[in-house]
């Protein structure tokens, strides 16, 4: 009983907890995915802001280049002065409308840096087709991206009204320095933002977070043209939300678990207290019954002696004997129910025991107008516990006495094979067909007009059947048209 209870109480606690936990974890995971998504969007938004900053920077540079390249003429000295003074122009070239190079001068001396420029940038106007392709369209100015040397190089070109093309090679180092200067410094963000050029080399990075060597960024963003081969990457820790969601979740589940446990313990304690109370009561009844048994035995003994000594007609003594017998049976029933004991079987004659019991009952039955007709058919001895059998028959006769007054009782014994059958049939009101199964349950009492007002404990039949089964036999109710017929089977 107890381990089962504990398991039940454990289940009461564990099952809802497990359900709750499972649901919360799933919800948390869903939420985390959502948060992750939103987080990424937020990071991308930040990167977009940076891209805007850089795009503005490029736009400013574009305007100043545009301004610088609006030249009234292409006098070499003026152009060289421009290269010397302009912060963003490393070198530049001028092509006349026919595509012929005007600067660096095609004829006449060139400086060493101009010579370098011709070597590294010559490809641009040697392959003019490509340059014109990218520079065509509605516009008369724009960026031209050119991969050479350290990789990415920018050329800003501008076609003047006469059709000459002026193109400036942007000082790559200067552009990068300006970009670095425009970006935030070390501790500006909690994550880590890195700007990588077209080769994937990090140019600049900031933020407090230190990503692992192989860590993938949360999100990346390509810069706007003309720097569209550059990438911004955002690195950040992912476990943040987990940690945020984990503790409240755990506390919630813990609180519910605690509440359930307290509730379970409360119910368990209530339950065991009731059980204990019931046990105490049973034990109390036992004790009392036991205490009642000894004086009652003496009363019965002396009443019977008195009955023998006094003239037969003395009815008062008979009543005392009958009532004390009834009380004895009651106490025997109570004790038997509370403390089932082992049987002491001994071979004996069933018929003679039955006769003795019937004789004991005769005065009481006669008082209720009941006559007993006994037909004994046993021939061989059967092993049984005399007290137990006496109690079974006594209980059945006592029932008949209570519920079927004024009707005869027929008791028959017979032996078939190894079984001894004792049938006790009355002709009273009988037992309603639907209740036949219930009458053997303890404390069950048929409640109808007839039985109202009849006292009883409701354990007589229970004990009778238990005793029969203890013998290896059974007590059953036989289906009959009128009255109630019980059959007791005993193995030989």
């Amino acid at each position: 009983m107890k381990p089962k209870l504990i398991i039940i109480y454990l289940l009461i606690v564990v099952v809802p907890l497990a359900l709750l936990g499972g649901l919360s974890v799933r919800m948390a995971r869903d939420e985390q995915t959502m948060m992750q998504q939103r987080f990424r969007e937020l990071l991308t938004e930040q990167l977009r802001d940076i891209d805007t900053t850089l795009a503005n920077l490029l736009a400013t540079r574009e305007r100043s280049l545009q301004h610088a390249l609006e030249l009234p003429d292409f006098e070499t000295a003026r152009l060289r002065e421009l290269v010397r003074a302009n912060l963003l122009i490393r070198q530049f070239f001028v092509l006349d409308p026919k595509g012929k190079r005007v600067h660096p001068p095609a004829t006449g001396p060139v400086t060493a840096t101009e010579q370098d420029f011709l070597e590294r940038a010559g490809q641009i106007w040697k392959d003019q087709q490509q340059f014109y392709q990218t520079s065509e369209g509605a516009s008369d100015h724009g960026w031209y991206v050119w991969f050479w040397g350290n990789g990415f190089n920018l050329v800003y070109w501008h076609r003047n009204h006469a059709g000459s093309i002026v193109a400036a090679e942007v000082d790559r180092a200067r552009l990068m320095a300006d970009i670095v200067a425009a970006l935030p410094e070390a501790g500006a963000v909690n994550g880590r933002i890195a700007l990588a050029d077209s080769t994937g080399t990090t140019i600049y990075q900031w933020g407090n977070y230190v990503p692992g060597p192989t860590e993938q960024p949360q999100t990346t963003l390509a810069l706007s043209a003309p720097l569209n081969s550059w990438r911004l990457s955002y690195f950040a820790a992912t476990t943040d939300f987990n940690r945020h969601a984990f503790w409240p979740l755990l506390t919630g589940i813990g609180a519910v678990g605690l509440a359930l446990t307290i509730l379970a313990i409360y119910f368990y304690r209530e339950n065991t207290r009731e059980l204990r109370n019931a046990m105490q009561r049973v034990s109390f009844v036992n004790q009392v019954s036991h205490e009642l048994k000894t004086p009652l035995t003496n009363i019965r003994l002396y009443a019977e002696l008195l009955e023998n000594e006094l003239p037969k007609t003395n009815r008062h003594v008979s009543v005392i004997v009958a009532e004390s017998q009834r009380l004895s049976r009651l106490i025997a029933n109570v004790l038997r129910y509370a403390r089932p004991r082992t049987l002491h079987k001994a071979p004996g004659n069933v018929d003679s025991l039955l006769l003795s019991v019937i004789e004991d009952f005769t005065p009481a039955l006669a008082a209720k107008g009941i006559t007993v007709q006994f037909t004994g058919n046993t021939r061989t001895a059967v092993k049984f516990d005399a007290d137990a059998l006496e109690q079974i028959i006594g209980n059945l006769l006592s029932n008949a006495e209570k519920y079927a007054p004024g009707h005869p009782i027929e008791i028959t014994t017979q032996q078939t094979g190894n079984t001894t059958l004792i049938t006790i049939a009355d002709h009273g009101p009988g037992i309603p067909p639907g209740r036949c199964a219930d009458i053997f349950k303890p404390f069950y009492r048929l409640s109808n007009q007839l039985s109202d007002g009849v006292t009883g404990t409701g354990i007589g039949l229970t004990i009778a059947r238990d005793l029969a089964r203890q013998h290896g036999g059974d007590l059953t109710l036989l289906p009959t048209v009128t009255g109630a017929t019980f059959q007791l089977q005993l193995p030989s």
């Binding site: 400086t111 060493a112 840096t113 000082d171 180092a173 320095a177 670095v180 200067a181």
Partner: protein
């Protein structure tokens, strides 16, 4: 001053009124007069023409004694002012620029300096401690008109002190004191942020400079010597120089010297942490004694004269024209351009205009742009003896030193290629070359460099090469740029 005695025949002030010109110092005029007299005795025709003008100027200057405004001194001289006739030959033309004394300035040039410090992990300990000390001490030398910013970088960049007037020294020193070592080396970004800080108060009337101190190889962002050099070249266009101080044996001296060279800054090699304070001190000595900025030198060679190359300081050579710029001149300190020119065969007894030089610069004492002009001519003789007698020992010694720098660099390349023995032989050859010329031109500087080369010849083994190489680069750089330290 020996250089002035030959080949400074004419000084012309173009953009000044007579009054302005009279404010030129006695000192300056006197020297020129002496040089004129000496040259005159040698019968140079160009000088003769100018004699009355100079005398008049001297007389006026003596008579008026007006308040004097200093000007830088330009000395243009040939290694051999007297050349062998009837022979195509090369000689060296030295254009020396000497800053005037800072004591005459009403107040010294205010500075706008960004100190960019490497805080990468390798700086931990003694190096970072000394650096902090040196930076704090250096800032103590500034006054409340000066502007300073402090930037620290590892793999990221942090502006510890944004550009600010040196008023609140306590908080600046506090920020430096709390500098802790970090990760790797984002050198390019550090300098870029330093430049951004300098740019906040960029002013032609200030001395604008970045001082970069690093002990490691740049490994985040652009990291090649050429990229950093390009950055320097772009900063000089704004008048910002970068001085680089390399600490220990692990920094990239090529990168550090390129950055300094292209931006006309200084370069120092701190072999141990103890050297950091010395270099900071010397650098601030330079910074606080600036007398001229944005110095542009244009040399126009005479007919038939071909400029071949410059030794040391780089210059743009286009046809007959040579242009170079210097960002700063310091008080009483000479920087020069050494130009190798080819001179066509010329008949005995004739003379030839070799070059005219125009120098413009921002005078930090008067806050005006001054333009000075000078020219130089050579005389031709068939006497070998005369040629050698008239040799300008100052110019020749300076040219020899720069040639020795080229030899030294050649030895460095050999050693880089793993040819230790060849490198050693080249260094020993170089020391012999320096030794014989030191005797000939009585030059202590050449003697000093000879000893350095010999010492370097002993430092080519793998264990010490890294340090020797830094010493070689540093030595080359300071000679090429006529660094004061």
């Amino acid at each position: 001053m020996a250089g002035g005695t030959y080949g400074v025949p004419r000084i012309e002030i173009l953009d000044h009124t007579l009054t302005n010109f009279l404010q030129t110092s006695y000192h300056f005029l006197t020297i020129d007069l002496v040089s004129w007299c000496l040259v005159e005795q040698k019968g140079n025709q160009t000088v003769m023409q100018n004699k009355p003008q100079l005398l008049a100027v001297l007389a006026l200057a003596l008579a008026t004694s007006v308040a004097r405004a200093e000007q830088i001194k330009v000395t243009t001289a040939l290694g051999r002012p007297v050349l062998l006739a009837d022979e195509r030959q090369t000689t060296y033309l030295k254009i020396g620029l000497t800053g005037f004394s800072g004591t005459v300035m009403e107040r010294r040039t205010p500075v706008n300096v960004a100190i960019v410090l490497d805080r990468s992990g390798s700086m931990a300990g003694e190096k970072l401690r000394k650096t902090k000390e040196a930076a704090s001490l250096a800032i103590d030398r500034l006054n409340s008109d000066d502007i300073v910013s402090v930037i620290a970088f590892d793999d990221k960049v942090q502006v510890l002190v944004p550009a600010t007037k040196v008023a609140d020294r306590a908080s600046i020193n506090d920020a430096i004191a709390h500098l802790t070592p970090g990760g790797s080396t984002a050198l390019f970004a550090g300098v870029s942020k330093g430049a951004a800080e300098v740019r906040k108060f960029l002013d032609r009337q200030r001395m604008n400079r970045i001082i970069l101190l690093s002990d490691g190889i740049a490994n985040v962002g652009p990291s090649s010597p050429s990229e950093l050099g390009d950055l320097g070249a772009s900063l000089i266009k704004e008048g910002i120089s970068v001085t680089t101080i390399g600490v220990g044996a692990d920094f990239n001296e090529d990168l550090m010297t390129q950055l300094a060279r292209r931006s006309d800054g200084n370069h120092g090699f701190a072999e141990t942490a103890q050297d950091i304070a010395r270099l900071f001190n010397a650098e601030f000595g330079d910074i606080l004694s600036v007398v001229a900025q944005e110095v542009t030198v244009r040399v126009r060679c005479g007919d038939g004269i071909r400029p071949i190359r410059t030794l040391g300081r780089e210059a743009d050579i286009t046809g007959q024209t040579v242009i170079t710029t210097l960002n700063q001149l310091y008080a009483n300190h000479q920087k020069f351009i050494m130009l190798e020119v080819e001179i066509p065969a010329t008949a005995d007894g004739r003379s030839r205009d070799i070059a005219s030089v125009e120098v413009s610069y921002a005078n930090m004492a008067t806050h005006e742009t001054d333009r000075l002009r000078s020219s130089v001519a050579a005389r031709f003789t068939s006497s070998q003896r005369q040629v050698l007698d008239h040799e300008n020992t100052d110019v020749m010694a300076a040219a020899i030193e720069l040639i020795a720098v080229i030899n030294n660099d050649h030895a460095l390349s050999l050693r880089d290629a793993g040819k230790i023995n060849e490198a050693r032989a080249a260094l020993i050859d170089n020391s012999v070359f320096l030794d014989s010329n030191a005797e000939r031109y009585k030059s202590d500087k050449l003697r000093g460099y000879k000893a350095e080369n010999l010492q370097q010849a002993d430092g080519l083994s793998n264990e010490v090469w890294s340090t020797t190489r830094k010493g070689m680069r540093g030595g080359q750089y300071s000679r090429e740029q006529q660094q004061s330290y």
